[in-house]
Every structure is written in structure tokens, then in C-alpha cells.
């Protein structure tokens, strides 16, 4: 006796494969733009892409030359904002995962973290302007801009730290408590070493977020143009304004007429490349660590 497909079975199989192809096409519809955009930007940027583009200063009223001042400004902003948001975010994540009891106060803290992550970037800009530029008296400066960025990146670091800590099994902590260690000793000796890689991945991802944001720094410390020496590593003081890559791209794209064709594209490629590189690094680290996980 052989099994033969009845018309009903055949119809069902056909239905199933059609459904599969439709959903696959929908997924592909998200990948194709990514590939096309990256490819197109690189192609248009090609004439300008070189090392000297990175370390040259803008010339002829930003219509030519390189992006050095913006590149250094972005590094300043990212490093300073992470110097604030990484410790605060990681410690907050430790509090929420290791210390907080399930009561109304900590539920409110959780809601605050979620809502902070959802605050629009332009609202962060308004806050930075009101709080750091005027109320705190920092003026339009690198400090104001980095603090604004720090508050914006903080909730995501909190969330990823919590996730990393929560993935350490409870039995690890219990074993440590049972030999008489206090909560903090347990965290220091057992929990953190076992989750540090996850925490670092979360912090790394915020590098690209902080580097890519424009709105929060636009009104707190980034300027259209600032004269800087070619290749100068420390061109800005903390109370000064600075250029930034994202802001520079916005300026080139919308405010400066007759820019050399490939320059805004090359700026976009540098920004995009940095963001994708940072994310790819984080992904590779994560995959590698997952393969080595012992539990």
C-alpha cells in the first residue's frame, strides 16, 4: 500500500509553501534596503574615501577637505558621555537586579528606566539646554553635550546590564552566600566576573548610539564649524564647543551649498561604517562568549 497525496493534502502543502515564501519575501524586504543603502553610499563616496579625508581639516568653507575636527569632536563626546553613563548605568543595573526588592518604589524605578529609554532625542536636547547649558551654567560646551548624551544612553546600559546579570544562575550566588560572603562580596567575586562580557557588550553598543545622535548635541555644544589644526589630537577644551560627525553630516547635507559631490557621502559612510563596525564587534563578542558559556 502506498501513500498518495490527496487533493486536500496537495492544496495544504501548496498553501504552506506560499505562506513561507510571502513571509520570506517580507524579511528580505528589510535586508535589501540595508545592502542597497550601504552599497550606494560607498559607491558615491568612493572618490573622497581615503586616510587623508579622515585627518584633513575642512577647506574652502567646508566645500572640500576632510573631517578631522568633526571626528575628534565625536570621540570627545563619546568618551566623556560614556565616562558618566557607563558607571552610573552599570551600578544602577546592579541595584535593580541584585538589591532591589519587589516593592512599589522599585516598580516605579523600572517604569522610569523604560520611559527614559523612550524619551525622544529632541526632548533630551531641550532638557540639556534647560538643565546643563542654562541652569547649571556650563554654557554651550562639550560638557553640556556629553552629559545630555550620557543621560540618553544611560537607560539602555541599565537594561543590558540587568540582562547580563540576570543570566548568571542564582545557584552561583547561593553558593557564595553559603560560605558567608556578603551581598557586595558576592557581586564582586562571582556575579560581575561571570557577566562582565555581557555588560561590556551593552556599553560598546552605546558607543555607536552616542556617536550617531545629532539632535541632543545640536543645541547643547556642537557647532557647524570650528578651526582646528590638521591631525591635532587635543583641539578642544571642555568648556568649548566642538564639531561632531553627525552634526557635520547634517550641516553638509542641508546648510552648505555647492559642496563637492562626494564629501557628504564620504562623511555618511564614515559615520555609518563606525556604527556598523561597533555593532559588528559587539555581535562577534557575544557569539564568541555564548559558545564558551559554561552553564
Amino acid at each position: 500500500m502506498t501513500f498518495s497525496e490527496t487533493p486536500l493534502v496537495r492544496r495544504k502543502l501548496r498553501q504552506e509553501s506560499i505562506a513561507k515564501w510571502i513571509f520570506a519575501a517580507m524579511s528580505a524586504a528589510m535586508i535589501i534596503p540595508l545592502v542597497l543603502i550601504v552599497g550606494y553610499l560607498i559607491q558615491r563616496a568612493w572618490p573622497s574615501l581615503s586616510v587623508s579625508f579622515l585627518i584633513d581639516v575642512p577647506a574652502r568653507g567646508m566645500r572640500d577637505g576632510g573631517i578631522w575636527p568633526a571626528l575628534v569632536g565625536t570621540i570627545y563626546l563619546v568618551v566623556l558621555s560614556l565616562a558618566v553613563s557607563a558607571p552610573v548605568g552599570v551600578l544602577a543595573g546592579i541595584y535593580l537586579n541584585e538589591y532591589a526588592k519587589d516593592n512599589w518604589f522599585n516598580r516605579i524605578t523600572n517604569l522610569a528606566v523604560i520611559n527614559l529609554a523612550g524619551v525622544p532625542s529632541i526632548v533630551h536636547a531641550l532638557f540639556g539646554l534647560g538643565a546643563f547649558v542654562y541652569a547649571a551654567g556650563f554654557g554651550y560646551s562639550i560638557i553640556s553635550a556629553s552629559l545630555t548624551l550620557a543621560i540618553m544612553t544611560c537607560p539602555v546600559i541599565i537594561a543590558s546590564t540587568r540582562e547580563a546579570l540576570a543570566s548568571v544562575p542564582r545557584s552561583f550566588r547561593e553558593a557564595c552566600w553559603n560560605v558567608g560572603a556578603t551581598r557586595w562580596q558576592t557581586i564582586k567575586a562571582v556575579v560581575l566576573p561571570n557577566s562582565i562580557s555581557g555588560i561590556l557588550t551593552g556599553v560598546i553598543l552605546q558607543v555607536s548610539r552616542a556617536a550617531g545622535e545629532t539632535a541632543p548635541i545640536m543645541f547643547t555644544g556642537a557647532v557647524y564649524f570650528k578651526a582646528v589644526q590638521r591631525g591635532d589630537l587635543f583641539p578642544y577644551g571642555l568648556r568649548e564647543q566642538c564639531m561632531a560627525l553627525s552634526m557635520h553630516l547634517y550641516t553638509l547635507a542641508t546648510q552648505v551649498p555647492d559642496v563637492k559631490e562626494s564629501i557628504p557621502f564620504a562623511t555618511a559612510v564614515v559615520l555609518l561604517g563606525a556604527a556598523l563596525l561597533v555593532n559588528a564587534t559587539a555581535i562577534i563578542v557575544r557569539v564568541y562568549l555564548r559558545s564558551r558559556k559554561k552553564w
Binding site: E16, I18, A19, K20, F23, A24, M26, S27, A29, M30, I31, P33, L34, I37, Y40, P87, V88, G89, L91, A92, Y95, L96, Y99, I108, T109, A112, I114, N115, A117, G118, V119, P120, V123, A125, L126, F127, L129, G130, Y134, I151, P155, I158, T182, W184, S208, G212, E213, A215, M218, S246, L249, Y250, A253, T254, F265, A268, L272, L276, N279, I283
Partner: protein
């Protein structure tokens, strides 16, 4: 018998040797824990601080005689810099924000949920990992780069294929926002589908359902609240996005009538005019009031999404 009695810790028994930690160790632990507590509540301080500082700058405006909140919300007359009869109505911007967001969701929701279904139900483990990485990379593209792509690439395509006189319009902003909010819809949507117990799928398969029937009749109804949360978070992302819409929607302050009209959103309006508004002027304060409005909108949307997600997790 006797030995066990004597070894019981009594006052007469042998002195119990206690290990004493050095004082610095105890103190440093205390300092760390206070620090951890302070950072732990920092999120509350930040949220309250954000609301306080924005509201503080906006508040003086509410008491002014020539300003009314109803006019602010329900008038489309936005003339903040005219010499006489300044009018601050943001209705056109509200319409712009909702128009662009609706258009973005029209594109992002079917594709996002479709991809979420494909990732969670149809494809193999390798494809799944690849797709998730691609989606993560898609989410990593800075908004100013999206804006630049909309401005230079999409606008030309739109002019070519629709015959619109200007390429920076609601459609352009909608497409860019769709691409920006699709990653969050996919990842939250996939979580929601994964939360449906496997027994549901097994029961469906045992009844001879095809996978399409399984998705349509079992999984979508079972995961609908989670999928709703995914859509809401996508909406919040689209409403709050600034740079991309600033560069792609074209800055025309009027209520849009077709997708090819240029519009201005609430976020783009702040970004475009804050630089020109003199500090602490009326214009400046109205922009902060717009910020309060935006804060409240996204706050409400995020809170709703969070309640939904939390409700599912408790189940």
C-alpha cells in the same frame, strides 16, 4: 552522647572564634552600596529632572494673556516670529507627526510582523541568526544617516516615480521612519510569538493544520497583545524621531492632504526653530511646551506598551 553535649555552643563551651573583617573592608562595602543605591534611583531622578526642566522653561508661557492652550493645541496658525499678532498653534505639526507615523506604520507593521513570523515560525536556526544580526545592524544606522539617505536617494526616486514636485514629503519621511522602526517591531514581535507555548503549536499540528493556518488561527490570536505592544513601541519610536524627519519631510506647516504633501512634525519643528529662537523668549518657551507635549505622548505610549508586555510575562 557526652561529647555531643559538650560541643553544643554554651556559655561554658570553648570560645567561638569569629573572623573579623578589617574595618576598611566593611566601610568600602557600605560606600559601594550607597553608591549603587544612588545610581539605582538615578533613572527616577533623570525622568523627573527632564520633566521638571522642560516644564520650568515652558511654564511662564501658560500664564500669559495672549497665549491660550486651546489655541496651542487646536489652531494650525504657527506664526511665532511675526511682528504683530503672534500665533502659536501646533495642530498642523500634530497632524504632520500623526500623518508621517501612520504612513510609516502602514509600511512597517505588515513587514515587521511578517518578518517576525518568518523568523519565529518558518526559518531554520542559521537563517534566524543571520536575520537577527541584519535587523540589529539596521537598528544601528544613525538617524542622521537615514535622513541623508532620504534627502539624497529617496527624494529623487519619489520625484521620478510619483511625479511629485518635491521629493521631501510625507511619503519620504514615512518610508524612512518605517525602515527605522521595523527592527523594534520585529524583535518585540518575535518575543511575543516565542512566548506562545509550544503546546498550542503541537495541538494545531495534531489537528492537521498547515503552518499558515497555525499562524493565522492560533499564533496571531494568542500573541495579539504582545504584537500590539511591538506596534506601540514602533509608534513611539516614529513619533519621537527627530533628525530623519527633519531632513526628509520638507518643512511645510499645513495639514497634509496627500502623502506627497510636505509636512513638518512636532520634533522637526523644535529642531528647526530652537536655534533661532532667542533664549527665554516666548517663541523659545512655546518650543519647550511642544517638548512637554511630545514627552507626554511618548510617555503614555511607552507606559501602555510596558503594561501590555508585563501582563504577558506574568501570565
Amino acid at each position: 552522647m557526652n561529647t555531643s553535649l559538650t560541643s553544643r555552643p554554651t556559655e561554658k563551651g570553648p570560645a567561638v572564634q569569629r573572623i573579623v573583617r578589617p574595618a576598611w573592608s566593611i566601610w568600602s562595602e557600605r560606600v559601594w552600596e550607597v553608591l549603587i543605591y544612588l545610581c539605582g534611583i538615578s533613572a527616577i531622578i533623570f525622568v523627573v529632572g527632564i520633566f521638571f526642566f522642560i516644564f520650568k522653561e515652558a511654564l511662564p508661557m501658560l500664564g500669559k494673556k495672549d497665549f491660550s492652550l486651546t489655541q496651542f493645541l487646536f489652531s494650525e496658525q504657527w506664526y511665532p516670529t511675526s511682528e504683530v499678532n503672534k500665533r502659536y498653534g501646533v495642530l498642523a505639526m500634530i497632524a504632520g507627526t500623526f500623518g508621517v507615523t501612520a504612513l510609516a506604520m502602514l509600511l512597517a507593521v505588515p513587514f515587521g510582523l511578517g518578518a517576525a513570523i518568518y523568523i519565529s515560525e518558518f526559518c531554520g536556526a542559521k537563517t534566524r541568526e543571520t536575520l537577527k544580526i541584519v535587523i540589529e545592524l539596521l537598528a544601528a544606522i544613525p538617524s542622521v544617516v537615514w535622513g541623508f539617505v532620504g534627502l539624497t536617494v529617496l527624494s529623487r526616486l519619489i520625484m521620478k516615480y510619483t511625479g511629485a514636485p518635491v521629493g521631501v514629503n510625507m511619503l519620504n519621511g514615512g518610508i524612512v521612519l518605517a525602515l527605522m522602526s521595523v527592527p523594534i517591531i520585529v524583535s518585540i514581535g518575535e518575543d511575543a510569538l516565542k512566548a506562545v507555548p509550544d503546546s498550542y503549536r503541537e495541538a494545531g499540528v495534531a489537528l492537521g493544520a498547515t503552518r499558515w493556518q497555525l499562524v493565522w488561527r492560533v499564533l496571531l490570536p494568542a500573541a495579539k497583545t504582545g504584537l500590539l505592544a511591538a506596534v506601540l513601541l514602533g509608534v513611539a519610536r516614529a513619533v519621537g524621531e527627530t533628525m530623519a524627519v527633519l531632513m526628509t519631510t520638507g518643512h511645510a506647516i499645513h495639514i497634509p492632504h496627500s502623502p506627497l504633501d510636505s509636512v513638518r512634525t512636532l520634533t522637526a519643528n523644535i529642531a528647526a526653530e530652537l536655534g533661532e529662537a532667542p533664549a527665554h523668549s516666548d517663541h523659545y518657551r512655546v518650543l519647550f511646551l511642544t517638548g512637554v507635549l511630545l514627552f507626554l505622548i511618548t510617555f503614555a505610549v511607552n507606559l501602555t506598551a510596558d503594561f501590555i508586555v508585563r501582563g504577558i510575562r506574568r501570565k
